[in-house]
Symmetry: C2
Subunit: 345 residues, 2 copies
DNA sequence: CTGTTAGCGCGTTCAC
DNA sequence: GTGAACGCGCTAACAG
């Protein structure tokens, strides 16, 4: 614990200094200190200087909890992502943080662990902080979560997806379409016996949609595939990818290309193939999703789909700022995706 | 923006319902509602049921800003990490979150981008929220940051390091010692011409300390090395590793083992070697630091040092809870590290 | 077991 | 350009 370095003000009060303490030292009222600190009112130059000197001397730090209560503006933007460990979502969080850095907003970040029950709990605990807006990942939520959000009367943005029944506005892309685009390119490359490696799709709704896109694209090409390995894990990690590729090759040895629900298992699969002496892409081609850094650095490079994770965050934050300023906004902001063909296919 | 679903209470008030609204509906005072919601007072069973029914019907959500102001307990633990993209630090944040999940505390997370100037700004903006404690990464801070922290009168924990001059308490390990342990093992493996690949050590103080440990260990073994490549970037990424290994091999072709400041550039270096047709570890051995998931999945596996990133967070949170409860705590809590020899050396 | 009173430290509002 | 009164929504402290 800190040694006691609290301020003792002239009137003998002890503890963290308040605006009144600053005002007393500067010979003005607390109100003038408040105005000076926010800088959007006219304050006489020498008054301002005395106030700033007092602030420095006392080590005064504004108490924003009190300020929020009074102004009814918390300055918080709440954000919920499935996982903070996953660099795609970390990039989105970074995009949001960077975009709101210009404003005086602060990010309140939580991770749901891919659980909508946990999401519901987190939504409640975030709403207790009276955020001015909330940014969620995906379009699947518990009924209670939807009710709380509606009741809160604040802007809600769902990201990383295009929900059928959005709560409010949306910033994202169709995971199914993105996957279809990938399959199309691979068909064009000459592949025809497709395998799919995924995790627990009950929890990972984006994974589920990618799977849907996979099926739709194959159907379109008359290539319907039942070569699917679903690992009971969420999220599906690098090492799961190794496990999955072994199962896929064992059960469906004719597979000529395996698409993984993300680059992480794709990388694990490629490494496992190397261990098994199976050449990628000669013996089997492997593709991922998400364009993680590893996809471009790995040798061979991993064919994948870039989905602008950072941009999703940046655009969601812009959308949020616009909504908070009551500017008219689009109900749905699409974000870009593009297929990147690399050495693994 | 939400359609207006605000509650209209019996007395005609409009807007987010308050405890008084709940109390009115349940026929009790706001104070009783407050007690009921916190659950640590005796409330008559039927009173409690009426209150809960009113809460449900109104969709009431506690306003914690107001509660904090009154109770003088914000329920926030502030945490600053260099980067949220880096899975080592994400793991630490996860360790903290998981450990405080049992309490009613909430994490206020920020990332400094490896800049102590940015750290100073963030410390100020976090302190405005009156966190009950703050967890920092590393031991290097601006004088103003140190002053603000001292003035705040809250527990401060520095992590990921053992600072010479700690602010308060510390949870971490000696990066120099950990690197020395790695060098020792590699010397034992028979390597003698060591190279070091690092980033901008002015910003990455842990990288700097690892470098120091590298030098000390080599000196101890009589192997002093000037084979150092410092990429002017922070953090040093996978792709920088590729760049760096080319420079290292060009300038110091006799190098028999290259140690990278983290697994990320180590992986990039290994992949670049594969592209160049240089065999790892036969032609050159490569080691990393941090035991990222990639180090175990990659083929060859990457020799590295596990530093228990998650445990640092978990222990820091435990330490914080102990400090907040005024239990006596150790000034310094050491966390474990251990060298993992894998195929890359 | 429940209510009343009195703030917490600010910002809003109006006054001068 | 500055100040006074008041209240934001809640909880501490005390009463009963």
């Amino acid at each position: 614990m800190q040694t006691d370095q609290d301020q003792r003000t002239g009137d003998g009060s002890i503890g963290t200094p308040t605006m009144a303490d600053v005002g007393r030292m500067a010979g003005v009222s607390a109100m003038t200190v408040s105005r000076a600190l926010r800088g959007n009112s006219y304050i006489a130059k020498d008054t301002l200087e005395r106030i700033m000197a007092a602030v420095d001397q006392l080590g005064y730090v504004l108490d924003q909890s009190a300020g929020s209560l009074s102004s009814r503006r918390s300055g918080f933007i709440a954000t919920l992502v499935p996982s903070i460990d996953n660099s795609n979502f970390a990039d989105t969080a970074r995009g949001i943080t960077d975009a709101i850095a210009q404003t005086s907003m602060q990010l309140l970040l939580g991770y749901t662990n891919y659980s909508i029950a946990r999401e519901e709990e987190l939504i409640e605990s975030m709403l207790r902080r009276r955020p001015e807006g909330i940014i969620l990942t995906g379009g699947k939520h518990t009924p209670k979560a939807r009710a709380m959000l509606a009741n809160a009367g604040i802007p809600v943005i769902e990201t990383w997806d295009i929900p059928e029944n959005p709560i409010d506005t949306v910033v994202g892309f169709s995971n199914a379409d993105a996957m279809e685009a990938l399959v199309d390119k691979l068909v064009m490359q000459g592949y025809s016996r497709f395998g799919f490696i995924t995790g627990s799709e009950a929890s990972d709704t984006r994974g589920h949609q990618r799977h849907t896109g996979f099926d739709q694209a194959l159907a379109r090409h008359g290539l319907a595939s039942k070569r699917v390995i679903a690992i009971d894990a969420v999220p599906i990690s690098m090492s799961h990818g190794g496990l999955a590729i072994r199962q896929l090759l064992q059960r469906f040895p004719d597979t000529d290309v395996a698409i993984c629900v993300s680059d992480l298992p794709a990388f694990g699969a490629i490494m496992e193939c190397r261990r098994m002496g199976i050449a990628v892409p000669q013996d089997i081609a492997i593709a991922g999703f998400g364009d993680y850094e590893i996809a471009s650095v790995s040798e061979p490079g991993i064919t994948t789909v870039n989905v602008d994770s950072y941009g999703i965050g940046a655009k969601a934050a812009e959308q949020m700022i616009a909504m908070l300023e009551n500017r008219s906004v689009a109900t749905t902001v699409g974000t870009s995706f593009h297929v990147l063909l690399r050495g693994s296919t």
